[in-house]
Symmetry: C2
Subunit: 406 residues, 2 copies
């Protein structure tokens, strides 16, 4: 048997208490027993990070990000050592390493640091000694030897970065779901688990709110071509493989998603002059507000309307900045509608298949659901609809594309 | 005014909650405002270390010392960042450093590591930037970049090591008492606080159970001649200075102490042959049992008795090892008495004053307290007495030497 190098990542809920730590230790040692080299990336236990944040807020609600990183990075130091102890108890050789010990070098953006490189000498030496290596996720150090953190969900990125640096055969992300589904199973009765999905599809689904994997980690996995698997730490069965190219299985669409965190902003009766759109979106960019779907229409009176969507949390700020400049833009009013929802289908198969959009609109039309805006990319079609219709819309769109019996 | 470099150490109870952290932050910033360079060594908050140990025991009661060190060192990482945040809130420049960031290099004896050196470049650079520097006590790294801890009370040693390496003007140890007393004030009504005490006296008092300072830290302070001050973090008043030579103040005796953790072992009717004592104490040394007072007496029948004291916890093991070899030693029996107490007086003044012992014995005699064994050193006289008499003995001995009105 060929020896494989496998990186496994366990999130905070997977190691929340002694029993779960023991369960994770069993998963790790099973893989080690099977002859694999195993590197494990672990997050802070359960609510540790939130508890530490609460402690900090009590003392100083405006603490520096540098000191917050020092504080929060202790969370993984606790979970990684406890996990190592559980593996020691089972009689296997193991060593735990903090971010700096494991060689994570990041930039200096405390709280949202980016990994620059992983200096893998220490990890490689420990693997050569036949140790199982437990590494603290979410953390590293900058060039000044200051502790940094990668931000929420950063442990996924840590795992992919190690897998890329060590040229691992597989990077397994253990979560509380057993894989990636064609839709959120809590919303869609007929949702089915996917065996495989491409990086691009995963990125689109993640940005649409599937929230199984952190987007930065998938981007990095795509860049370095690291094969990932999303699987459950509670059930012993295969999950969903995420990779560059997958078998098509006659599936045009890989999944459907709903996003309720949407606000539609409309600028009404703008003069039909060049440069107006540029000015609007420059204003929003200066406030770091991301814009999603954009729609422009010419009215019969020689004016135009521009509508676009932003995350609901950004709605107020977007309206405020546009109101401030409304006069110079020459518009009449700024409207904001948060009573909407975005329904999307994602799949590499639709690139070469013009019938996908038609099929989606037909399904919505049959269900008597009105489409307010449409946006398409090579592997995604999104529509805006009334929020009240969103769960029904997700189901009819999903069922139009995904065979119910797999 | 000459700028001073001051190292301040705060124990776990001084930073146990947000309110106390704020109090400590005020002490630190007051010193900084007064124009001093300030380096602070901090222990883990309150019961953090015990909580972490409990977490570990739940998962693996026999965890490796390496992983225990990884786990426990997170405690100071939490307290140091919280303290830094409290200082930030007051508007002062501050930076917190872990053991490895602060340059603590130790040997590899996990859990009881010894500091080899402090590489002070980073601390010096932060002081040059006018930062208050908060350093994690109790921890360092070994030559392999593995995290080590110095064992309980190690933060005192961390503070003295930094003070020695930086050639600090003073090393202040903040505790929950306001200084070193002539005796434990909970036992001796007339105990008074000392303004000054020598390193040697402090070492004798600490080993006698005064427990104000960790002994290793005082040994290191003596070796590198670091002036220390023991003072309260709750009250704003001078404490007790510990240094090489102090004004004598006509005090022959600096303090009196009681030690109830004593067992007396007696070997009865040994043959009067050379080498017997050597064999007995070699056996005990091989079990790492420290022996304190030794008394040997020749009996009238040509045999001899040897008695000695050990810490009460070691009593059973000492008896067991001696019973095992009793036949080859030629003795009749091994006896163990734990119903005893050791009363000591300590003071550099007694070196040149032969009357001290007589005065001590007189005080005990007047109180009708029987002396069972006597041991003397240059700056200490100890006697063994019945445990039932110990509190009364401590008071009469103390009051014989220490002026009640100071």
């Amino acid at each position: 048997m060929l020896m494989k190098l496998i990186v496994k990542k366990f999130g905070g809920s997977s190691v929340a208490n002694a029993e779960r730590v023991a369960n994770v230790a069993r998963i790790i040692t099973d893989s080690y027993k099977a002859g694999n080299n195993v590197v494990v990336v672990v997050s802070a236990q359960g609510d540790t990070t939130d508890d530490l944040i609460a402690k900090a807020k009590e003392i100083n609600p405006h603490a520096s990000k540098r000191e917050m990183d020092v504080l929060l990075s202790s969370g993984e130091q606790i979970s990684m050592s406890l996990l190592a102890m559980a593996i020691e108890k089972m009689g296997y050789p193991v060593v735990s390493l903090t971010g700096w010990q494991a060689g994570f070098v990041t930039d200096s953006a405390h709280g949202i640091a980016r990994i620059r490189r992983v200096e893998t000498e220490r990890i490689a030496a420990e693997l050569a000694r036949k140790n199982i290596v437990i590494v603290a996720g979410f953390q590293g150090i900058n060039r000044y030897d200051d502790i940094t953190t990668l931000g929420r969900g950063g442990s996924d990125t840590s795992a992919v970065a190690i897998a890329a640096s060590l040229k691992a055969d597989l990077c397994q992300i253990y979560t509380d779901v057993d894989g990636v589904y064609t839709a959120d199973p809590r919303l869609v009765k007929n949702a089915v688990k996917l065996d495989e999905i491409t990086f691009d599809e995963m990125l689109e689904l993640a940005s649409l709110g599937a929230q199984v994997l952190n987007n930065r980690s998938v981007e990095m996995a795509k860049k370095y071509n690291v094969e990932m698997e999303v699987l459950s730490s509670m059930e012993d069965k295969p999950g969903t493989i995420v990779k560059e190219v997958v078998k098509m299985e006659k599936m045009l669409v890989r999944g459907a998603a709903r996003d309720n965190n949407v606000a539609r902003i409309s600028l009404v009766a703008l003069p039909d002059r060049p440069g107006i759109a540029f000015r609007i979106f420059s204003l929003l960019a200066s406030k770091k507000i991301n814009v999603d779907i954009i729609l422009q229409s010419i009215g019969r009176d020689g004016t135009k309307d521009i509508s676009f969507t932003v995350a609901e949390d950004n709605g107020e700020e977007a309206v405020a900045v546009l109101r401030e400049h409304l006069e110079s833009l020459g518009g009449k009013d700024v409207l904001c509608d948060t009573n909407i929802s975005k329904i999307s289908v994602v799949g590499s198969g639709m690139q070469s298949n013009p019938g996908v959009a038609a099929k989606m609109f037909e399904a919505l039309s049959d269900a008597n659901i009105n489409i307010q805006m449409i946006s398409t990319s090579e592997i995604k079609i999104s529509v805006l609809i009334d929020k009240a219709d969103s769960e029904r819309a997700l189901n009819v769109v999903h069922d139009a594309f995904i065979p119910t019996a797999k």
